[in-house]
Symmetry: C2
Subunit: 228 residues, 2 copies
Amino acid sequence: MAATTPTFGSPQAAARNRESLFAASDSRFDRRLAKILAHATDVFYEKGYEGASMRDLARHSGMSLSGMYYYFESKERLLYLIQKYTFTTIVERLRERLKQESDPERRIHAFILNHVQYFLANQKAMKVLSHEDEALKNGFGAEIAALKREYYRICLGLLDEYKRARKLNYSSRTAVLSLFGMMNWIYTWYNPRTDPDAEQLAEEMGDIFLRGISSQGKVNRKKKAVVN
Amino acid sequence: MAATTPTFGSPQAAARNRESLFAASDSRFDRRLAKILAHATDVFYEKGYEGASMRDLARHSGMSLSGMYYYFESKERLLYLIQKYTFTTIVERLRERLKQESDPERRIHAFILNHVQYFLANQKAMKVLSHEDEALKNGFGAEIAALKREYYRICLGLLDEYKRARKLNYSSRTAVLSLFGMMNWIYTWYNPRTDPDAEQLAEEMGDIFLRGISSQGKVNRKKKAVVN
DNA sequence: ATCTGGTTCGAACGTTCGTTCCAATAATAA
DNA sequence: TTATTATTGGAACGAACGTTCGAACCAGAT
């Protein structure tokens, strides 16, 4: 219940970040909050949600421990704000990209490119989103879970489209989740100095995945040619 | 240094689990330790390493808090023992399976089947291994990291074999890590009541992956046939 | 100069953390 | 039985945790 109807330490702070989601960081308050979220993302990235203390977060934000509570009511809500913003943004961008593509195969490529690009451009936030999946309880957790389900369903829809258009028959669920696994695992191994950039990585993964789901039956042992 | 030359609370406990790795759970001590590890795996699975307290672990083991320290010197070492045992076992089983396969494609399938089967049969331990990757520091962490590298290299070798045998040219590194992503992500979504069993899941993922890396160029838009 | 509302922080609250000490108990050997 | 060793747990340690409180500070308006 504290999750759905939170009591804020200060009435000014309360009215602000309740619904604004600080997306439009206009006011002084919103701008400062956005900076705190950015620093908190760094700390969560390095120490994990449980491992990071409010004192760590305060120190990295250049603010006192108690001062933090002027901007959010609890550590849990801080994580929630980070995850919600990150997820909302990636879904937003995806929707814009999908508007411009109609071919089922290209739409899947667009999905993958969007995910990988955003993932690498915001690696820390995306790790916090992927890794701290179970950290939020009750209301907070439910809201993020809903966003996740929405994102999942978009991808599922793309794969169903593609399956119908090509008359294939794979399990869309297994395919979606395998694809998510490929992409979300990136944060555990990616090294920007030695590994390919976002566009190339998206292409490699996209090729593996699309070829993987695109033919019936087992792997052919001989070379193939177009017959029709 | 505490990691490489640990001091045990009790001299009896010290000599035991130092090198035995409790694999051969013969003595009373080893059997009890194995049970504690099993219960601790459950708790780490549900609450994470940082989120699980020694008091949680003790309660689930039906033992007093201080009694736990007779079996291991620290919470960190407890996680280390779980991870080391799990990883050692999966590598062991893999080596046995690979002995029986010589065809490069079948060897990759064997790798995937081994991983997925063990993953689903020991889902909790495998989540603790995958998810709590950065929890161990210094000596403990280095040892697990070495096992991980070994496992990675085995898979890399299999993909290189396959690439040479089929005269393909994908990036083995990206391929390995994509495959690991697919498989290790399972713990975030798998539902034994509704999702396919290990053999079928391994087959689906194996098919996606192998077809994905098996052809050159882009996805063909037409049907294919064997010509040679 | 005073007032007002937004912003900051030092100090402290009560709780929980991992770990230790040491006495008590159970098992085994003599 | 007694002597010895292996195992257990109650109580406590100091440190760290998330959160709260109230006083202080700062800006801009009056």
